[in-house]
Symmetry: C2
Subunit: 385 residues, 2 copies
């Protein structure tokens, strides 16, 4: 509900409208209001798509009249002589007359950085419950969105079962590795090459552009000791790097690294993107970290390369710090999803004999977020009815 | 071949090595050289993946000796006491001791902006020739990479034939619209809703993140007059905007727009990304432009919103300028691919009676570039043998 005491005023030339509520002023430009009208001529009643382009709205649009009644704002635009009604709550929710975010490396609302203490509260979904696509799925997707990873348990132990997880929130991203890839390890102490060579935590496929933004790993066999999975929040690591040294954070954010995978005859994947990816206003939106596929970095000026390598080294040390990592074991029918633009993953070493068989696949997080937001919207509608 | 007169010197503390050839100096840091060694202990001989992380390389790495012989540079590192050989041509090709790019909105090498004069030289591939996966495919993919779009002709006229085009270079990106979507128009002059309502040129699905970076449109029926397809180079439009007004270019690059598609019960896709997307060093890497799915822009400070809307309007005017557009007609068995992060597309109006049936699907350009680069690499190997 909007405050019944909301007042409205128009600046002399009709270019700006001000809503006043509880002594707070919120300003809107005439052109922004007109472009964001929700009448049936501006927006398609069914799907909400805008029916007009900005070229259809006069450049000299101003406001000739405005009034407030019952939580709704009525605005008349000149020269169209068109009157449009707005929900004042929608306007306040979409107000832009507010301080801009300061500094770099801030996180969007709904995203929360974490360190090893998340180990006591790992997000876990039960496959049977998730499959009902109700509250359990909503709650689990909320945590996956917040933390960038989530474990699931109690899934079927069968080839390709990971696709049933992807079906819950999105679509498989097919690549040259196939729709799924097998991670099989035969643990045999006489062959050290297949034992615990600790893989440094990494994001997958940084040489791809766009990078697959979700990865699913699913356990089908696990009779070997060890081999725990480990995840690290790349956002938390980047924020810690910045707290230690803005210079280090900035040099990794301001210059592109290069990544490459050209290990098969018909594959030559390359990318040129920074290890720390920021939106233009400083939001932390992505991490790329993978020693195996980092190519020669050639986009850092000579006089900054020393700093770049020092920052890259320190970033790796932070990622390797046990205080940052969450570990968990996967048994058959269990697995996890990660936001591959944020959370790094690794496998701990094995010991003893046995086998381990995981299947992995990629997906994208726009689908995951859409599924979550659509469930939230449906829940709200039900509550309102 | 490297110049036989290449000399090498080491700075006193061993932290920098300088190659001198024809009076030109090119400097490399010890840590960069060590990290980019190609010996079998550093890089896997088979697939070229790096076997060590930076943590395995001492932070105080310096160079104790270096010599040049027969196009190869030999470097000994301390404290590892490890000697590595480099191909001097590889070093020169990956040198970073060069001026950094200046200004914003520059294009990567291999990418070329175009306007309507490309109409006389539209890249066209013949499906039968492309399917041989040889020079014809290489040449066509080179043009698609350069211009961000390419037409193809002589494909089979059958449901789903567009997948055969995607098979040439990559993988279908499945979405909530399905693996493919149908664009059917029944032209009937008594129903104006289905006639020539000019769609403004746009990029598809800017509300997705990551956005599908390749789109394929494939014609199966076309008995109606009109309905030409039109494409506009968003990079050329952005560069023209910058030439007219750096302020306009910057305001669209420095602030995130918001996009939304929430028109189905189980879909709620939203994104927060700029209309003009730049790499941290100013490379122009993406355009998002779609009046239908632009949501309320709320990440522009109040005192810049007027400029933002003026810039958005001018950007649209440039996109609408016929001097920017290339048009072509699609007959059954013909279609085109676009780089959906760069090239905008639209459909011209219809007239007369008849039907028009197109199928569309999405893919990603990392696969397309990988396929092209792999063919080029194979061609070079053949030439060298």
């Amino acid at each position: 509900m909007s405050d019944p005491r909301t007042d409205v005023s128009i600046a002399p030339l009709g270019q700006v409208l001000t809503l006043t509520s509880n002594g707070l002023n919120t300003r809107f430009h005439a052109i922004w209001l007109r472009d964001n009208a929700w009448d049936d001529e501006t927006r398609a009643p069914g799907n909400g798509q805008r029916l007009v382009a900005l070229r259809d709205i006069p450049a000299d649009t101003t406001i000739s009249a405005a009034s407030v009644e019952g939580g709704r704002l009525s605005v008349t635009f000149t020269p169209e002589n068109k009157t449009v009604e707005y929900d004042i709550n929608w306007l306040i929710a979409n107000a832009y007359d507010r301080p801009a975010p300061q500094g770099r490396g801030w996180l969007n609302s709904g995203v929360e950085a974490w360190r090893s203490d998340l180990m006591s509260a790992i997000p876990v979904g039960n496959f049977e419950e998730l499959s009902k696509r109700g509250d359990a799925l909503k709650d689990w997707l909320a945590l996956v969105t917040k933390y960038g990873f989530g474990k699931f348990v109690n899934g079927p132990v069968e080839n390709g079962a990971l696709f049933k997880i992807v079906d819950l929130f999105g679509f498989v991203r097919d690549t040259n590795y196939g729709k799924l890839f097998d991670v099989r390890t035969e643990v045999n102490p006489t062959n050290l090459a297949f034992t615990g060579l600790g893989l440094q935590a990494h994001t997958d496929n940084p040489y791809r552009d766009p990078v697959p933004s979700v990865q699913v790993l699913y356990c089908l066999e696990s009779s070997a000791a060890g081999g725990e999975n480990m995840v690290v929040d790349g956002f938390a690591a980047a924020q810690r790097l910045r707290a230690e040294s803005e210079e280090y954070f900035n040099v990794l954010a301001d210059h592109c690294a290069r990544f490459e995978y050209a290990g098969e005859d018909d594959v030559c994947l390359t990318s040129r993107r920074p290890m720390i990816d920021l939106a233009p206003d400083g939001e932390l939106i992505g991490i790329r970290f993978n020693n195996r596929s980092l190519a020669a970095v050639t986009d850092v000026p000579f006089d900054k390369m020393d700093t770049y390598y020092a920052a890259y080294r320190r970033f790796g040390e932070i990622i390797d710090d046990e205080a940052m990592e969450v570990t968990f074991r996967l048994d058959p029918g269990e697995g996890f999803v990660v936001d591959n633009t944020r959370v790094l993953h690794a496998r701990k070493g094995y010991s003893g004999e046995g086998t381990r068989w995981l299947q992995g696949c990629y997906s994208d997080k726009d689908g995951l977020r859409s599924t979550y937001d659509a469930i939230v919207r449906a829940t709200r509608k039900e509550a309102a009815e």
